[in-house]
Symmetry: C2
Subunit: 487 residues, 2 copies
Amino acid sequence: MEPVFGLPINIPPRSSGERLRALHGQLRAAILAGRLQPGLRLPSTRSLADACGVSRNTAMAAYDLLSSEGYLASRPGAGTYVANVLPDLTQRRAPRERRQQPMSDRRLNAFWRDSAGMLDLPRPSALQFDFRLGIPDVVHFPMDVWRRLSSRALRAYSKAHLGYDFAHGRPVLREAIARYVSFSRAVACQADDITVTAGAQQAFDLLARILVTPGRTVVAVENPGYPPVRAAFAAAGAKVVAVPVDEEGLVVERLPANAAVVCVTPSHQFPLGSAMSARRRAALLEFAHARGAVVIEDDYDAEFRFGERPLDALQTLDRTESVFYVGTFSKSLFPALRLGFAVVPAWARRALGAAKRCADSHSSPIMQEALAAFITQGHLARHVRRMRRVYGARREVLLSRLREEFGRWLEPVPSVAGLHLAAQALGSVDVAAVVESAREREVGVYPVERFRVGKGGGVSGLVFGYGALDEAGIVAGLARLRRVFGK
Amino acid sequence: MEPVFGLPINIPPRSSGERLRALHGQLRAAILAGRLQPGLRLPSTRSLADACGVSRNTAMAAYDLLSSEGYLASRPGAGTYVANVLPDLTQRRAPRERRQQPMSDRRLNAFWRDSAGMLDLPRPSALQFDFRLGIPDVVHFPMDVWRRLSSRALRAYSKAHLGYDFAHGRPVLREAIARYVSFSRAVACQADDITVTAGAQQAFDLLARILVTPGRTVVAVENPGYPPVRAAFAAAGAKVVAVPVDEEGLVVERLPANAAVVCVTPSHQFPLGSAMSARRRAALLEFAHARGAVVIEDDYDAEFRFGERPLDALQTLDRTESVFYVGTFSKSLFPALRLGFAVVPAWARRALGAAKRCADSHSSPIMQEALAAFITQGHLARHVRRMRRVYGARREVLLSRLREEFGRWLEPVPSVAGLHLAAQALGSVDVAAVVESAREREVGVYPVERFRVGKGGGVSGLVFGYGALDEAGIVAGLARLRRVFGK
């Protein structure tokens, strides 16, 4: 390889993917060091490519990068030369006087200064047998179909000259979702009722924003319950009240009389897994109707039901436009999709659309079009049906092993749906110690207590997700867990 | 075509894409009408396909949909049969007693009840020559490259068993963005400083949430300015103060002494287009330092600069960790990508990540991986360089025509960057009447007044976006506009 301007340029082997980076970095360093002087005309990309033994595309890319960074300039006839005015890197590069500041600061508002930790997630686990919650299995997902549909959506998009888009979501997707949930969950809705969101979490967050008056609105959540829902309402300034849950779901009689919003998981209580009884459903709707309260029905994983017929959704039973139904495609497709939706009563629709526009303008129209095609072509129904079998088998294995081998310590909580199962701890089981010892054996199980606010009372136990572990993994993980209990 | 159970099933022609829908709908109707009775065993998918003249895949998809909806069930050995327990559709289908409710409601908080209209967008234009703002031209975008990179990202994702992801963004993208803006905009940052957001709008919204104490925090915005930024801070409960702009940018001397947050567009003022002078930049940073205020630097389209070298970003000049720099890929790639970022001082990082997690968990890791590859392989720099030429040529045409033919009425505002140009109205030009008459001639131009809060004062004029019109379109649109002025 020939030197370029006397510079020995070292280019890594072709397969390393680092060639452009190396070429760019070494040219830049030479310019910064003054070895390539301002005004100096550079060799053509072809000569550079030959000299360094890289492709001409790589040479062009290096010049493009350097030009966009201000190191190179070009003029017709004069070719490419080292720019006169260099970014003043020396000044910028000087070690910046970073004051020793805390990671929090009085410039933050009190809520986020004090509560940021509430939303810290545990680091992604490296455990061998992790009964993680809320993670679907993507191995069986028809990625080839999805790839084809999203490529097609991208192609259509690039021809459509779209600018910014509908805040509520693309009409074709709203239509597809309305039809899908009308039948799969008997949720009474039409396309106009649907607002597409960035996963269920954004639906909760936007609803919190339009429904809560900071410092005033009382919001009831389940205890134990799903922490990110609590966080969204707390962040919006609500007075969040945690209301206990029993084997019939939320204890409606314990709702504070002034609750203006009630968040529930009636199909599959998070994390206990029980379904809200018909009696409690009626009582909750009666409460909402009598007090002018609204109900947020989080139906996060109810597509995966294993019984004959599910109880009606609250939304289906509602006659007073009090219920917001929230669904997600994070479990039925995959979390990286970041698409969910809310079924929204007419009176809140315009406000919710405005809040969505304020939050992030709209969700990706390309992903939305691909999802619409996935639903209308029947792939979603087919995939859900397939995964119902897969998850059902895992659930059976998990349940039977828990009953056969852990009966002295754990009693599974009855449930008919979802991607996880809870088991109540019996007698003197030290749940925290079990979780800790299991972790040392590469088994991840989760204490019900993690999802509870306040001390004492309520079920103590463990939660097992079976979306991320197949049947063999479940068996092996439980065998290790058995040794923890056997100690 | 043979009848199925004596039902005449009508299937539309193959090319219509409606075959599945027709088959599914007619079978469902027959079940609902009781013509296919519970317990009835259905023909195999092969027989159904033959009978109706559809493919076997379509027949299977129809059964899958009906099964997932609860109309059909199957048992090994018993095949597929009409389910016993039908969803109670009759009840649900009864015309719902929808109260005549206003689109607003006391259950909404006061802000969204009163302000939802503030974020209503004009309907997508059907004008022939629309000088829309903020829309890039995607015709020249290397969609084939993007498609390849996003397919690859999807493939990698489907093998990686990812669950939920980092709130701040994927490390590879944060690294790529940091390196890109370090050089292209001389913004001093590293990967840790970057938070990936759903477009710049989400960055403003999240910053509003962590920086504003409702009812207390005073936030200064430019007047005229970008309405969605104003909206995000108003929605968070800030006292928003609109501060005038002149040819040197924000009039720093007019900032309220108690402003805790100052939002500016120093590279290319929105909508006037002027760059903030060096003097004002220094004064603004001094203000922030002296009063403990923070500056939000919105650098929405500064990649497209047409002068020699841009002024340093405020972030580059900042020595007190007072500046949040916000960038977007909506202009340099395309808006449907929904990715932007903020460069965040250390003291606010944890709170911002928590707010992002609360808002929507995280942005799509697939899109993030594709974008990271697009940047590190040099495609972004190359595309920006190409588009700088394209937009530069359009801007030249627009400027020269405005000067030559509209000199009596309009005076272009000097600017060196971006995708739009403003022109000040001279003398007695009735801007509103011009906009209206132009619209009747299929020409979209936008009054500066639309972006101003409060009455009177300040520049009156028109804004011309040139992202959505090519040179010929600009020439033709201006010719029509000329006739409006010539009247």
